[in-house]
């Protein structure tokens, strides 16, 4: 069943009168349970695609059906709810709130979902266990290493149990070992049924996905399954 279905999707940026094409007539279907890597050179439009799919930005034109609902005419408020309930985000720069604890950061989407405090703490605790940061739960996020920060970000993305997780260069600011751990978590989550859409420009990262979409000049150039998928095993390294 298609979770995401876009048709003729275009995004044109207008700055000081001159137009820049971000996306041009993109057609794309992503089914539930997929692990998709979007790759392409910088400026190709891969981040734009992720932002539009993630409802962080509106397309200039085209149709977007998410989970069976046509959402291109949604109001800002409705889009906020879609982001909150159906999507989780992992960014290259982590984007955690400084001077707040790991738990507080993970609770953030739950606060905006209107969930009560005791339930929030319970869920956040569960997420902390999942990303194996139990001993760091009450640390300020500024006291964590890059890899740990990104694990907090994953925990936060999972808090509302969303269907899709969007990851924009999740390993881009990490050393290769920490990056592997993050990819391992993402593969685990995919195995548990979460759909994952990941943007990267590194082929070894893309190879851990199940499907690779190549973007160039705002267009899908190639859309292929990963034949020799890199499965990152827990035995290969110590978390």
């Amino acid at each position: 069943m298609p979770l995401i279905s876009v048709k003729n999707l275009s995004k044109i940026y207008e700055t000081d009168g001159s137009e820049t094409v971000g996306l041009k007539n993109v057609d794309l279907v992503i089914n539930e349970g997929e692990f998709v890597a979007i790759v392409g050179p910088s400026g190709s439009g891969k981040s734009t695609l992720l932002q539009v799919l993630g409802c962080l930005d509106r397309p200039t034109s085209g149709e977007y059906i998410l989970d069976g609902k046509n959402i291109q005419d949604y109001s800002d408020k409705e889009l906020a709810e879609v982001r909150n309930k159906k999507m989780g985000f992992v960014f290259q720069q982590f984007n955690l709130l400084p001077r707040q604890s790991v738990l507080e950061n993970i609770k953030l989407p739950l606060v905006y979902a209107g969930i009560d405090e005791p339930e929030r703490t319970r869920i956040a605790q569960e997420m902390v266990d999942l990303v194996e940061l139990q001993e760091r739960a009450d640390f300020f996020t500024t006291k964590l290493s890059g890899g740990q920060k990104q694990r907090v970000a994953i925990a936060r993305a999972l808090a509302n149990n969303p269907k899709i997780i969007f990851a924009d260069e999740p390993t881009g600011s990490l050393d290769s070992k920490s990056g592997e751990i993050i990819l391992d978590f993402l593969q685990d989550l995919n195995d548990k049924g979460h759909t994952i859409v990941l943007v990267t420009h590194e082929s070894y990262v893309a190879d851990s996905a199940k499907r690779i979409i190549h973007i160039r000049d705002g267009n899908i150039e190639k859309d292929e399954p990963v034949i020799t998928r890199r499965i990152i095993s827990k035995e290969g390294f110590k978390r």
Binding site: L56, D57, A80, N84, K85, N95, Y112, G114
Partner: protein, 413 residues
């Protein structure tokens, strides 16, 4: 999203920039401090003056020459008026004219320099009749008050206040001593009990003389400056005033009340006009303080705008995680209101503290009985004004924050 969460998020946002938050609210603190202070001192002054005026008794009325002033600053009609005479005094004293009058006393007054041997003291002579003792509730420490005969004969018998006695004699046995002023000798026959400040006059600091004596030997005029009358009870005051007016109009051949060359004032009138003056002063000073609040509010707006720009990434992240525009608006508006209300509360504490110190200082320096009043109205005003300021000056930055798109926000470096 629950308000409790918005509040928590705002408090956290502010505590992240503690130093800046404190500097931001300084303007509000100063503004609210001055408003509270002005209110507190205004209230205290008013209650002090009113209690003194009312201490004189609500059944006392005063007759003054000239036209009643139209407002607190209209002195024109009451200066240099000589319409009240000894004949008026005599008419008012008659039961057939003014049946409800208990005591009637004339008042004339003027400054003198009194001396005894080598001692000199600048003071005031009040010329009157023995009835003044009843009207003001004066008591005698030594000797006795001069009599009606002293008044008719314009004798040289005088009664002096406690401070006058201390300054001139510095000894206790003063009855029969001669003091000198305006080149005449006067015999001290009585010493007033210490009374402290009464409205408009401190009887500790004056010399009481028969009014005839004061007119002839001290002041050099033949008219009367005030006539004080005590009614038999507060209820009959309105009727008493009518009787006074018709008696005086008869004496002065006046038919139209518009031509009156005198006016009657009660303690209540006096209290009202004093209240008006202190209220005007409080409002005037309060509005000056209000300007500093506006300046403080602009400061808050300025810092909030900087803060919104600086925290663009945070705003974007919150939106990506599901915050709606109104969640963000509420967050920043709440921050602004917390800042101003906090400033308001600190300002109220400072204002109350300062006015308490001011009360002590005034009482010490001028020996007044200046009461400290907790300015309830000032406190309510302070809290509500600071809330409103937070809202008015916080709404624009908060709107700017809420309008940021989640993507612009995340891209911002």
């Amino acid at each position: 999203m629950q308000f409790r969460d918005t509040f928590k998020i705002s408090v956290k946002g502010l505590s992240t920039h503690r130093g800046r938050s404190l500097l931001t609210i300084l303007g509000i603190v100063i503004g609210i401090t001055s408003i509270t202070l002005v209110n507190a001192i205004g209230d205290s002054a008013k209650s002090m003056i009113l209690s003194e005026v009312e201490g004189l008794g609500s059944n006392n009325v005063f007759i003054l020459p000239g036209k009643e002033p139209a407002g607190p600053s209209d002195f024109g009609g009451s200066i240099l008026n000589n319409s009240l005479t000894a004949r008026d005094l005599e008419s008012l004293g008659r039961k057939s004219n003014v049946p409800d009058a208990l005591s009637v006393a004339p008042i004339v007054f003027g400054p003198v320099v009194a001396s005894w041997e080598s001692e000199v003291y600048s003071t005031m002579v009040i010329g009157t009749t023995p009835e003044l003792v009843d009207i003001y509730g004066l008591g005698l420490d030594q000797g006795e008050m001069f009599t009606a005969d002293d008044v008719t004969q314009a004798s040289d018998n005088v009664v002096i206040g406690k401070k006058v006695a201390d300054k001139l004699f510095g000894q206790s046995d003063i009855i029969g001593e001669k003091i000198k002023f305006k080149d005449n000798n006067f015999r001290v026959i009585g010493l007033l009990q210490e009374k402290g400040q009464s409205p408009f006059v401190n009887f500790d600091e004056i010399i009481l003389a028969p009014y005839t004596t004061a007119q002839q030997h001290v002041l050099g005029f033949r008219y009367i400056q005030r006539i004080a009358i005590t009614a038999t009870s507060p209820e009959v005051v309105p009727g008493l005033i009518q009787d006074i007016e018709s008696t005086l109009r008869d004496n002065h051949n006046i038919t139209d009340p518009k031509d009156d060359d005198f006016y009657v004032t009660t303690m209540k009138d006096l209290a009202n006009s004093i209240s008006t003056v202190t209220d005007i002063l409080t409002i005037l000073l309060g509005s000056v303080a209000g300007i500093s609040l506006v300046v403080g509010g602009v400061g808050i707006m300025n810092i909030m705008l900087v803060s919104v720009t600086e925290r663009t990434r945070e705003i974007g992240l919150r939106k990506a995680l599901g915050a709606t525009n109104s969640d963000i608006l509420k967050q920043f508006l709440t921050e602004a209101i917390i800042l101003t209300v906090l400033g308001g509360i600190i300002g109220i504490i400072f204002g109350v503290g300062l006015s308490f110190l001011a009360t002590i200082a005034v009482n010490r320096i001028w020996g007044l009985n200046f009461p400290f009043t907790l300015p309830i109205s000032g406190i309510i005003l302070g809290v509500s004004v600071s809330t409103i300021i937070g809202f008015v000056f916080g709404i624009y930055p908060a709107r700017q924050a809420s309008k940021k798109s989640p993507m612009d926000a995340l891209r911002y470096e």
